[in-house]
Amino acid sequence: MSEYLDVDVRPILRAGGEPFSVIMAALESLEPGQGLRLYATFKPVPLFAVMADKGFAHSEQPLDGGEWEVLFTPAATKPAPLPAGMAGANFDDWPEPAIRVDSRDFSPPEPMVRILAAAEQLGPGETLSALLRREPVFLFPQLEKRGYRWLGGFTPDGVTYELTVKAPS
């Protein structure tokens, strides 16, 4: 079990949808002691009270473009040490991408090869930005194994997946 279940409601919000039911469904699927990591396009202040009622403390961090990452932690447990990859990243200090990779016209697994090759070119703390057609599920563990952190999600068109990778400092 991971310490936090990731819930990204940004696509729903961008599409003008109502993410409350999705968040509540995710909440019900949590295992005992597990927290929730929420990504939203605004600071979800009204949710904080709802979650406090359910016994979750919150800590929020701003992301680029006015977006927010919020950690909801069961009040009984202390916030876990933050693993590599997406988890717990403070994205404030992420510099502009040094490399841009557009791998949308390559079929799997070519995008993974190109992104890993580009990542190897990054200097300490530098980032790369990559465009793909789908969530690169095999790539994430590879990035984490090599100490990279990453942030990814579908753009509002729902077709392009945008991935940012940061080299270890």
Binding site: D105, P109, R133, R134
Partner: protein, 443 residues
């Protein structure tokens, strides 16, 4: 963690599945079971279960252990269940087949064999269903819904089969007798139509648009194909149980399920055509070209079924219809996808650790498609010839077709083993990369 890693035992499932496929082909070549014997004979039961459990179900389970985590971008619910489940399934199948052989008088009578086999199979399939369903449930959308419907059908199939085993063992239980009397069609439909076909449909939606760089089919459209298929299975399970309880005959239930199944296959066919048409990759890889032959077989099976029903000879030619569906559609598709999946997983396992740091071969460099193509063509051609021969009632010629199928499968398996052994890669293994084991992933 978000993401998917290599499934450790997928190769072991594939290897076991292919071994059972050879067992089944050997039976057909030897003339044991249908068409030499009746469809209801004990020998045919041996053949059918070697194919459906040994070959198709093991291959499907092996693929799902890898595919479901990719689908939901989450790790498998539990890593520890796959290998014990494989052991239970193989042991259960051996006892089940021994039970059928005893039933047909080829082994000394031992009524406990069938229930014991059923218990072991239920244990194996049960743990796989829990593991995969709990994984798929983490993001139950799109293709994962097909998998969940398929897993539900698998449960229904196992329940029907377990009841049969008790009835065949002769243990006094009148309800089981009644189920055995009229439930065989329901068992076959939930197994072949629900478990294997719905799951294969779901997997192909995702894999095909991925391999061909085609736009994904939207959730609403794929659900439209799933809904009538899932409804057909629900009708079979619920309606079938009611019909058995009332002893009212299951013709109405089967007709309703057939109509729903037909709608599901038609909508699925429309979506698959859309994926092929919308692809950005003009040149198709071998596995996608061969998949076309599987779809042709599925369409041919649907047409054949319709013609036979219209002519009133469906019951007489049921064997030929099922043969085309099982070997043209399901087996052909699984063989074609297995060829691709083994290449990809082998490539990822071998070169993943050094990818990006040093030049690595492409997935395509692990296979020799031109050499493999002829074996696939031989396989499909002999399946189609075999179907025609069965329709014409030429049992002895069928054995020749089965021998040709065996040769085709043998050629395909040889290619798959070469892929796994990196035999066609000309480049030496880079420093830091480790050649994979034939039968499991080292992770």
């Amino acid at each position: 963690m978000i993401g998917a890693s290599l499934s450790r035992w997928t190769m072991s499932y594939f290897a076991a599945a292919l071994a059972w496929l050879f067992v089944a082909l050997a039976l057909m070549v030897a003339g044991i079971g249908y068409p030499a014997a009746d469809l209801q004979s004990a020998d045919t039961l041996v053949l059918v279960h070697a194919v459906c459990i040994g070959w198709l179900s093991l291959a499907m389970c092996g693929a799902l252990f890898q595919f479901v985590p990719v689908l939901v971008a989450k790790p498998l619910f539990s890593d520890g269940w796959a290998l014990p489940a494989l052991g239970l399934l193989i042991a259960g199948l051996v006892f089940l087949l021994a039970g059928f052989l005893a039933l047909g008088g080829r082994l000394p009578a031992a009524p406990w064999l069938l229930p014991l086999g059923a218990i072991l199979l239920a244990g194996g399939f049960g743990s796989i269903v829990v593991d995969l369903a709990c994984t798929a449930w983490r993001r139950p959308s799109g293709a994962a819904r097909f998998v969940l419907a398929g897993l539900f059908s698998l449960c229904a199939t196992v329940v029907f089969g377990s009841i049969f085993s008790v009835a065949l063992a002769g243990w006094a239980w009148p309800a089981a007798e009644a189920v055995l009397e009229s439930g065989v069609a329901l068992h076959a439909i939930t197994g072949l139509g629900g478990w294997l076909t719905l799951t294969a449909m779901g997997v192909s939606y995702r894999l095909f648009s991925m391999f061909m760089l085609a736009p994904e089919i939207g959730e609403r459209r794929s659900s439209a194909a799933l809904a009538p298929g899932a409804l057909a299975i629900a009708i079979v399970v619920v309606g079938g149980a009611i019909a058995i309880g009332r002893a009212s005959g299951s013709t109405a239930v089967l007709s309703a399920a057939a109509v729903m199944g037909l709608i599901s296959v038609a909508l699925y066919g429309r979506d698959i055509v859309a994926i092929y048409r919308g692809r950005q990759r003009r040149r198709l890889e071998l596995n996608m070209r061969m998949a076309v032959l599987s779809f042709a077989s599925l369409a041919a099976a649907v047409v054949l079924g319709g013609v036979l029903i219209a002519m009133g000879t469906f019951a007489a030619h049921l064997g030929a219809f099922v043969f085309l569906a099982v070997f043209g559609w399901l087996s052909g598709l699984i063989l074609a996808k297995l060829y691709k999946i083994v290449a990809f997983l082998t490539w990822f396992e071998t070169y993943g650790p050094v990818m990006g740091r040093t030049p690595t071969p492409r997935v395509q460099d692990l296979v020799a498609e031109q050499r493999a193509a002829k074996w696939f063509v031989l396989y499909y051609a002999s399946v189609w010839v075999g179907t025609v021969v069965l329709l014409l009632g030429e049992g002895s010629v069928f054995r020749i077709a089965a021998a040709a199928m065996t040769l085709g499968v043998f050629g395909i398996v040889r290619e798959v083993i070469r892929t796994r052994r990196l035999a066609d890669v000309t480049r030496p293994l880079p420093v830091g990369a480790v050649a994979p084991h034939l039968l499991f992933a080292r992770n």
